[in-house]
Amino acid sequence: MSGGGFSIRRYLRPGLKLPFCPGCGCYTIINCFLKAVWELGHEDLSEFAFCSGIGCAAWIPSPYFNADSIHTPHGRAIPVATGVKLARPELKVVVFGGDGDIAGIGCGHLIHAARRNTDITVIMVNNMVYGMTGGQVAPTTPLGAKTTTTPLGCFERPLDVANVVAAAGANYSARWTTAHRRQLTDAFRRALTGRGLRFVEVVSPCPTNFGRRMGMDAKALLRWFVEASVPIEEARNMGAEELRGRIVVGTFADRDEPGLLDRLREAYGRARPP
């Protein structure tokens, strides 16, 4: 690595100011992600293509990363990324999106990408709410949480996204919170290497549209993340009741099965040459 030490600025598009609220977890995620990129030896983002949907988290790469990025309609980043990857396999294709984007409106795409083991990285920012639209209930909102559309408390159970993705066949699936910077950076590094689908769920504070209604500021949210976190190894010996309200962190899957491209090439090898 030449040209000085790590600074996120080397990867950001000049002349733009990051748009997130003070205390938003997106800042930490950008830092840890670009740190992982740096640690992997990338001097710039020329080997990457980013795709993201709609939401605060989806603004992380677009247009702030000085890279190719496609900012798609809400929920559709994974299919667009699939098209990019199949058409230009040499690119590292990375999807950023919120919990609503990836596990709500785009949930079908996520599960099928895991099933296909599509050779892309998916980073889901789980702030437990629809942040950009003002704090409505999300598929990841904890039971009982007050949001603008659950004024009496959320009466649906949250989706255990990292677990679902692991079960659907992704090569790698992990969950960390923004309070786990080192683990998060390591998870990003792992998610940027190898084949198949690599998924990282980041539990992230949205002080503006989640914390505020829960009576927590950014600091309190982070404190809660630390207190509520349970390593997956421990969680395996805990009952459902004990786990209610806890955030299970760690690696849900880490394997090296053939990715979509391997399978496709194997099948296409059987095609008659032109």
Binding site: R13, L16, L45, S46, E47, A49, C51, S62, P63, N66, A67, D68, S69, I70, H71, T72, P73, G75, R76, I78, P79, V80, A81, T82, G83, V84, K85, L86, A87, R88, E90, L91, G108, H109, H112, L264, A267, Y268, A271, R272, P273, P274
Partner: protein, 376 residues
Amino acid sequence: MPEAYLWPGNIACAEGAIAAGCRFFAGYPITPANEISEHMAKRLPEVGGIFIQMEDEMASLGAVIGASWAGLRAMTATSGPGFSLMQELIGYAFFTETPCVIVDVMRVGPSTGQATRAAQGDVMQARWGPHGDYAAVVLAPSSPQEMFDLTVRAFDISERLRTPVVVLSDEIIAHMRENVIVPDEIRIPERARPERGRQEFFGPELVPPMPRLGDGFNVPVTGSTHDERGIRFTRDPIVHRRLIKRLWAKVYSSAREVWDWELCGEQEGKLDLAFVSFGSMSRSVLEAIDILASRGLRVASLRLKAIWPFPDEVVAKLAERAEAIIVPELNMGQLVREVRRAVAGRARVIGLSRVGGGELPTPEELAEFALEVVGR
């Protein structure tokens, strides 16, 4: 030597796409478009392309858009229910200036309707389907030969204008088998690529050069309003107006090159009667005008091979000659509204609606209707 094949329309469409250099197809099963996907699944691996069946129609067009930005000519095919699901991404492709081809093999709707039966009910959806200020380019084949030719043309227009192009077919054309002549050579110009160092990919020219992802341009593509570099501007009225006006100018200044029609019957002079139609309906019309001519009427058929942008002047010119214009279509009356607008009172415009079961009016029925219209 050009070769001839006995192909159903859907196969001709797939072969046209391959001939046009399409190397990526993503789709979701639906009657009556399935044979296009199935043929692409077989043919693309043979020519170094990629086929993938996605989990739904949004994913299909999404993957096509991704592949297009990664440098491949790309296409999807569907029918009404899937075409409805694709509308947001069609608007996205238009707004982000992403070349791609969408084939809609029309069937009876709304909703699931009659899945195996032809209709022409998507004329207006093809024009106005995406929300906001969309400008559509829509071609309309009426034979397997045109399924081939117009699919090739769709790629040509899409690549030249950097905009999605819809091929609006129907179940009858899709499944009928006819001779298709494949020309020896089909050349669609390569996409114009930006020069090194360029930073404007969304203007200022009407059709700006399109970078390929991974080529070092750091292009931000977004469906939000953006400036010429692709940077999001979600409030500035000027940036939005400039962008949308350019996108409309791009499509409408090319309208004359997109327009494509066939005039049969009396080529000049006054007409007792004219037909305006497209797609499978035109096949019945062509026979009907023979019957009417044999009964001593001066008649003509204007068959539209491109519906949008609508060829106002072509229709207006016909209206100058005709006393009455009949617009038969397999829907409750869509094209007729546009014809009436373009005719602007120069002639009587009479719609003939036929819906359900995929049944075309017979040439005799059309002739009978026409005779009533002219009072014979």
